[in-house]
Amino acid sequence: MDIDLEELAAIIELLDKTDFTQFRFEKGDLRIAVSRGEALFPQAIGSIAPEGAVRGHGTAGAAVASTVAAPASIAPSPSAAAAGPAVASVDELAADEFLVRSPMLGTFYSAPKPGEPAFVQPGEDVQSDAVLCIIEVMKLMNSVSAGEAGTIRRVLVRDGDLVEYDQPLFVLGRTP
């Protein structure tokens, strides 16, 4: 069974009018999972295109992950219907929110060392020079700072993810 982008958009638009956090639909080899906010689906395709294709299809408030019976080991190009939950929320930045983007391609680490607490947690206030995470490129660790004082609202990527250049990593709220 196949589903096209228009149908997908229609489903999301319907759901957007309801109050939900997670929605799953399975029929045959088609599985659709839609979530709101930060909830992650374990079966979501691992890698996230930086500028999700679902944008511009009325996804406000929702994020979509769709897999078929045998998920491709390689994420389809952005034109295909795959986008991570985190990315879609980039579109809904509140007026007082701003993004911290990755200055380089590399592996995202939220903590200085495995097992140690993360540099920052949602809800935490940070100064502009606060280190938010590490991006590792071929064993070279590069720290990423906030650049502007604020409150951590959302973390958009997971520990160990490959992040691309310019990919949004954190949503921060400006200190009033």
Binding site: S47, S73, I74, S79, L105, V137, M138, L162, Y165
Partner: protein, 450 residues
């Protein structure tokens, strides 16, 4: 395990590599700069990752970023294309350490060929003809060497390339200056100030032999290409075969190329470049390009062999699908490089939006390009827009087809080299095949090709 190839390049060659991978059933991951996120190659690749900013050094030239991206996306091989990182032994080594197949020769072969002086020594040792020349430690030796060689001489940087790091010296009086300037420039540009002298051949044709090797002891040549239409050492028109040489000269070139291939246990595609002196008929080894060449399509059109496919197979340890006996040259192919450059302003770059792009269609016409209507041609990279190739049963027929193809090609929105290419193809000297490597420079400077 499915092969997944990281494409570490952009433009038309990225499209070409992705196409070859698709037909072999290989997956592709393309690394792009921020400026290339919506390129044709990005649309065609299985997956695209953004390496860095628009400047090449932040993206396409960053060895660590490219390696990290290839590893993190689970690639089993990496194709560097041409230019950018294609001749970097450190990338080849990095790939080897990570268990990724580098689609190119071994780091040792890249080392041996990356330095023009040692490549020259290698050629000499194998009995391959080289221009009179050599290197020297002090001024006394330099001056004696130049006298032995005879003026004019070229002062060349051992680690230079693409015409950079070369100085032409006509008299003994200018030599000392040229030597020290070339040496310090080379030290600044290439990190090594080693320079050497070589006899300058005034009227020469550039002829190169395509070689291909695998890990099963097969090494073959696929004939030659002539690339005498150049400007500032940049090739503009290429063809195969060369109509300038006889069978005996061709034999010298192909035998020499295969000797070099054998010595290096060469795997994959390589090009052995020669200068052919039109007055004396002498052949002199120039250098080896250990990679896929821009002008590979003309060889493909006359041999019917998909070079990128064979290159990928060879790199992955498969035997190549052809033997020397399978290689026959049929007819004649010509390639012109259409670039975003203004011939009326010293070939200054002309980036911008390609409002109209209507390529010619017809038998014997091939276009390798990444351009589409509405494409915003970025200012950050090479000016190449596409390679228009025509084939004909003989050279005259291929030239006639090229004239028609260039006339039919409608490009709007950006100024391109198209008018210059039309002048070249229509020039009597081109038709008569008397052009040498300085002809285009002279013709451009004069404004009237003869």
């Amino acid at each position: 395990m499915t092969c997944r190839v990281f494409v570490a390049n952009r433009g038309e060659i990225a499209v070409r590599i992705i196409e070859a991978c698709d037909r072999l059933g290989y997956e592709t991951v393309l690394g792009v700069s921020r400026a290339d996120r919506s390129s044709l190659a990005a649309r065609r690749a299985g997956r695209t990752v953004v390496l860095g900013g628009p400047q090449s050094r932040e993206s396409y030239l960053s060895v660590d970023t490219v390696l990290h991206a290839a590893i993190a996306t689970g690639c089993t091989a990496l194709h560097p294309g041409y230019g950018f990182l294609s001749e970097r032994p450190d990338l080849a080594r990095g790939c080897a350490e990570e268990g990724i197949v580098f689609v190119g020769p071994s780091p040792e072969a890249l080392d041996a060929l990356g330095d023009k002086l040692s490549a020259r020594a290698l050629a000499k040792r194998l009995g391959v003809p080289v221009s009179p020349g050599g290197t020297a430690e002090n001024w006394e030796e330099v001056s004696r060497l130049a006298d032995d060689i005879g003026f004019p001489v070229l002062v060349k940087a051992a680690y230079g390339g693409g015409g950079r790091g070369m100085k032409l010296v006509h008299t003994a009086a200018d030599l000392a200056d040229a030597w020290s300037v070339a040496s310090s420039e080379a030290a600044a540009a290439f990190g090594d100030g080693t320079v050497f002298l070589e006899r300058y051949v005034t009227d020469a044709k550039h002829i190169e032999v395509q070689i291909l090797g695998d890990r099963h002891g097969n090494q073959i040549h696929l004939g030659e290409r002539e690339c005498s239409v150049q400007y500032r050492y940049q090739k503009v028109v290429e063809e195969s075969p060369s109509s300038s040489i006889d069978g005996a000269t061709r034999e010298v070139m192909t035998t020499s190329a295969l000797k070099i291939a054998a010595e290096l246990d060469y795997v994959g595609l390589g090009t052995v470049e020669f200068l052919y002196n039109v007055e004396t008929g002498d052949v002199a080894f120039l250098e080896v390009n250990p990679r896929l060449q821009v002008e590979h399509p003309v060889t493909e059109q006359v041999t019917g062999i998909d070079l990128v496919r064979q290159q990928l197979l060879a790199a992955l340890g498969e035997p190549i699908e052809i033997t020397q006996n399978d290689v026959t040259v049929d007819g004649h192919a010509i390639e012109v490089r259409i670039t975003a450059q203004d011939p009326d302003r010293g070939l200054a770059p002309t980036p911008g939006t390609v409002a109209v792009w209507r390529p010619p269609v017809g038998g014997g016409i091939r276009l390798d390009s990444h351009i589409f209507e509405g494409y915003d041609f970025p200012p950050f990279y090479d000016a190449l827009m596409g390679k228009l190739v025509t084939w004909g049963p003989d050279r005259a027929a291929a030239v006639t087809r090229m004239k028609g193809a260039l006339d039919d090609f409608v490009i709007g929105g950006v100024i391109t080299s198209q008018p210059l290419l039309r002048r070249i193809i229509a020039a009597p000297a081109f038709a008569a095949n008397t052009v040498t490597t300085h002809w285009l420079g002279d013709a451009i400077l004069d404004g009237v090709p003869s």
